[in-house]
Structures are given as C-alpha cells and as structure tokens.
C-alpha cells in the first residue's frame, strides 16, 4: 500500500510512447514550483529506465514509483 502524497500536477501520458512521458514530465517540472511533487503516468516500458535516470541527472528527487494495472506512476519532487 503506497502512502498518500500531495501532488501538484498529474500528467497522464499513458497514450504516449517513448520519450513522450519523460518529455511531458520535463516540460511540467521546468515550469513547476520548487519543492512540489509532480506525477506522470506511463505505459511505456522505457520510462522505468529513463525517468529515474533523468531525475537523478537533473538532481530532482524520485519520491515514489507505483506500479498499477497496466501503467506506472512516477512521483518526482522538483529540487532545483
């Protein structure tokens, strides 16, 4: 059971293919507020590998990765 988070924006990128979900997340975080959590939903297998790598590289914080039926939720906190 995952804990509850206060999420600023949820991006439903389930209809998007690689690199769509990552790019949607980048776009949202770019104009987002420091310290807020942004969530992206993806069905693309590549997201599991790419999103955490990008989050680390961009020095944000991966708050949680939650697997649901048929898609994955990535929760990312904007740190800079």
């Amino acid at each position: 059971m995952s804990q509850d988070y206060i999420v600023e924006t949820v991006i439903d990128a389930r209809n998007s293919f690689c690199p769509g979900p990552l790019m949607e997340l980048i776009k949202t975080i770019k104009r987002g507020e420091l310290g807020k959590i942004y969530e992206v939903w993806s069905k693309d297998a590549g997201s599991i590998r790419d999103i955490p790598k990008w989050v680390e590289k961009a020095q944000h914080q991966m708050v949680d990765i939650i697997k649901e039926n048929g898609h994955t939720r990535f929760l990312v906190k904007k740190m800079r």
């Binding site: 209809n15 998007s16 293919f17 690689c18 690199p19 769509g20 990552l22 790019m23 980048i26 770019k30 590549g46 590998r49 790419d50 790598k53 990008w54 590289k57 961009a58 020095q59 800079r80």
Partner: protein, 400 residues
C-alpha cells in the same frame, strides 16, 4: 521559381467542400487522391502560402555540397491534380464553430471537411541565444548560413569543438541530427580535420535515438566514430557570448560551431484553438487522424500531435489514410462518426551514416525497425540520393 497558377473556384453548392491547409507532402497527397477519386462527390481546395512544394529530405546533403536547392522545389500547379483548386493564401485564423478559415488578405473560405497539414513553425525565440549562437539546416536560409560558418571552420584549419544538438522536442525528422553528425564526421575526415575536431552530440533523452533496438546500432556507430554522446541534455540557454550551450540538467558544453535543430511548434494560427494542444499541435486520434471533438477536422504530418516521427514518410502514410476516409465519407460509404482506423504509425527513414552510406528504418506504433535495415550500406545511400525523383513523380501523386 514559377508563379502560382490559381485555378478557378467551383461554385457548385451541392457538393461538400473539402479544404486542405498546407501545400507540403501530406496536403498535396490528400489533394491528389481526392481530386482523382472524389471529384464527382466533393469540391476540393488546397490552400498554401507557398507556390512550391519543397523536398526537405535532401537538406542534410546541402550542408556539405555546393549544390543549389533549386532541384528540391516543384511548382504546386505541376504536382497537384487538375480537379483541385489551388488557393495561394496564408491562414491567419480558424473559426471552428462556423467552419471557416480566414486568410492574411482579409478573405475567408468555408469548409465542410478540413484537413490541416500546415507543418511546423520554428519558434527560434523559445531558446534564449538560439538566433545569435546556433546554426541549423532546417530551411534554405539556415543552410546558406551554416555553409558559410562551416567554410570558415575549415579555412581556419585548427579544428575545435563542433556540437550538434536538439533545441526541444518534438521536432521534424528525428534522424536528421544523427545524419548531420555522421555526415559531418566523414566530411571532417575528408578535410583532414577529424583528429583536430571533437564532435559532440546532445540528446534530450537517455540515448541517441528513441527506439531502443535502433539505438543500440546507432550508439555503436557513435563509439566507433569517436562521437561524444551527451544524453539527457535538454537545451536551456545558448550563451553565445562565451560560446557555451547549457542544459536544463545543469551541464555546459563549449563550442566553436554549434548546429541545433530549431525549436518546433504548431503554426501560430493553431495555437490557442480548442483543437490544438499547448504547443499548437492538433489533437487527433492516433489511428483515424480525426479530431475527436470536431470530427470534420483531420490533421496529419508535422501538424498532428501523434506519438510518431514527424517526417515526410509518416505524413505520406497518414495522408493516404486520411484521404481514403474522406473519400468514403463524401461518397456516403461511411458515417463521419465511424471512420476507419487506417493509420498504424507507419514511418520509414533512410538514415545517412556517412556521406556515402545509409541505414533504413521501417517501423510503426508497435513494431521496431527490421533487422536488415540496421546494416549501413551504399545501396541505401543511392536510394536516398535519388529518392527525390520518386517523391515528385510518385509519392506526391498518392499512387505509390
């Protein structure tokens, strides 16, 4: 260039009016198929602000050769079916509720069915420093400026840092920057400048290319050719005063010559309309290419917000799918609410891997490129080199 032939508008009010916006690959193919197959059932108008259709796939060659771009243009009236009215106008607004398109001249035109294939708009200002610091090869003006800059780099003879990157996603022809870096690598070898030049490739994603299976082969080539790959590099600012490009992720790369794919957006007249997303790409069903809120509106090619390469080949396949759905609608074979899922994400790319070799990618929404296409060879190069003739005399007709 030849002047535009304006064909007389039909006044027959009994037939539905299909208006196609955009005289590029997708628009011309839709126009030709409708002109041939639906002339008894619909009036067809093609709206274009340009007099010519332009073959863009040869642009990377033009960086390195001294050839004129003249051969890449063909007057629209020579490639568009005679049953289609060609209207030379620039679209400035859509009135979706009243089914009307307004033009820069102040006139307007009404439609029953609208096909939007107006391509992409280069939003240079969205990346600070792009205009001052970056070169590109996405249009004739960009090519001319880049040729001068490359000539200077070669004349100087000392080498340095050449950086090739992408200002923003999505952009037209995802393989074009790869072709640019591979062709540049070969060009520098020919000029005896390869050892003195560091080649850097900036990719916004986790690899050089978005399709994993193809990426393996591309990154092997990067490694073999000594090209430095920088992943997760989302361009933030170009500090042209100190010749540095900076990423959103905090990296900085110095350059002597910077070549970047310009930032792309949907055309200004689409931005802010209910059919477009926040970047101005028209929202369509991925398989029917129809807007789900306004089913009499279709969009294709670079204009559509599809999760597939923005490329001439995908525009070609999308145009054929769209045209056949509209033909069926105007003939009364199908209802507008039940158009067929005719597009499967098909795209093909001939990818230059040096000045004299190429790979071939053929893929769709669910299938990656075929294995044989990854073998870089001279045959694919010749196909690409002479594809322009097939484009003007085959693809644009909608018969091939």
């Amino acid at each position: 260039m030849n002047s535009m032939e304006i064909r007389t508008m039909s006044t027959n009010k009994t037939k539905p009016h299909v208006v196609i916006l955009g005289g590029g690959t997708g628009g011309v193919i839709v126009a030709n198929l409708l002109g041939r197959k639906a002339k008894k059932f619909a009036d067809v108008t093609l709206v274009s602000k340009q007099e010519n259709v332009f073959y863009e796939a040869d642009l990377p060659y033009r960086i390195f050769d001294k050839n004129s771009l003249e051969s890449q243009y063909k007057p629209l009236h020579k490639v568009v079916n005679k049953n289609v009215v060609i209207h030379k106008e620039e679209v400035v607004a859509l009135d979706i509720e009243n089914k009307s398109v307004s033009f820069k001249s102040g006139s307007n035109i009404s439609y029953d069915y609208l096909v939007i294939a107006t391509g992409a708009f280069y939003d240079y200002d969205s990346v600070p420093g792009f205009k001052e610091g970056a070169h590109h090869y996405y249009n004739e003006e960009g090519i001319q400026e880049l040729r001068k800059a490359l000539d200077e780099f070669v004349k100087k003879g000392t080498g340095g840092n050449i950086v090739i990157g992408i200002a923003d996603l999505p952009f037209k022809c995802p393989v074009a920057p790869l072709e640019g870096v591979f062709m540049m690598e070969h060009f520098l070898r020919r000029k005896n400048l390869r050892k003195a030049t560091n080649l850097h490739y900036l990719s916004p994603i986790g690899g050089a290319f978005s399709i994993d299976q193809a990426n393996i082969h591309i990154e092997k080539k990067f490694s073999k050719k000594g090209i430095n790959l920088h992943t997760f590099f989302n361009t933030e600012t170009i500090h042209f005063d100190r010749k540095v490009v900076e990423s959103l992720e905090g990296d900085e790369i110095e350059y002597d010559l910077l070549i970047m794919v310009p930032p792309h957006k949907g055309q200004p007249f689409l931005q802010g309309t209910p059919i477009a997303d926040e970047s101005g790409w028209v929202k369509v069903n991925t398989k029917t290419l129809q807007n789900e809120d306004y089913p009499n509106i279709f969009a294709l090619g670079d204009t559509a917000n599809l999760p597939v390469s923005k490329a001439g080949s995908s525009a070609h396949y999308q145009a054929v799918a769209t045209a056949h759905n509209i033909i069926d609608i105007v003939k009364g074979k199908i209802d507008i609410s039940k158009v067929k899922e005719r597009y499967n994400g098909h795209a093909t790319c001939l990818v230059m891997t040096s000045l004299t070799s190429a790979m071939f990618f053929d893929f769709n929404y669910t299938r990656p490129p075929f294995g044989l296409g990854y073998i870089s060879n001279r045959l694919f190069y010749y196909v690409k080199k002479y594809q322009r003739f097939l484009y003007f005399y085959g693809f644009l007709s909608g018969r091939v």
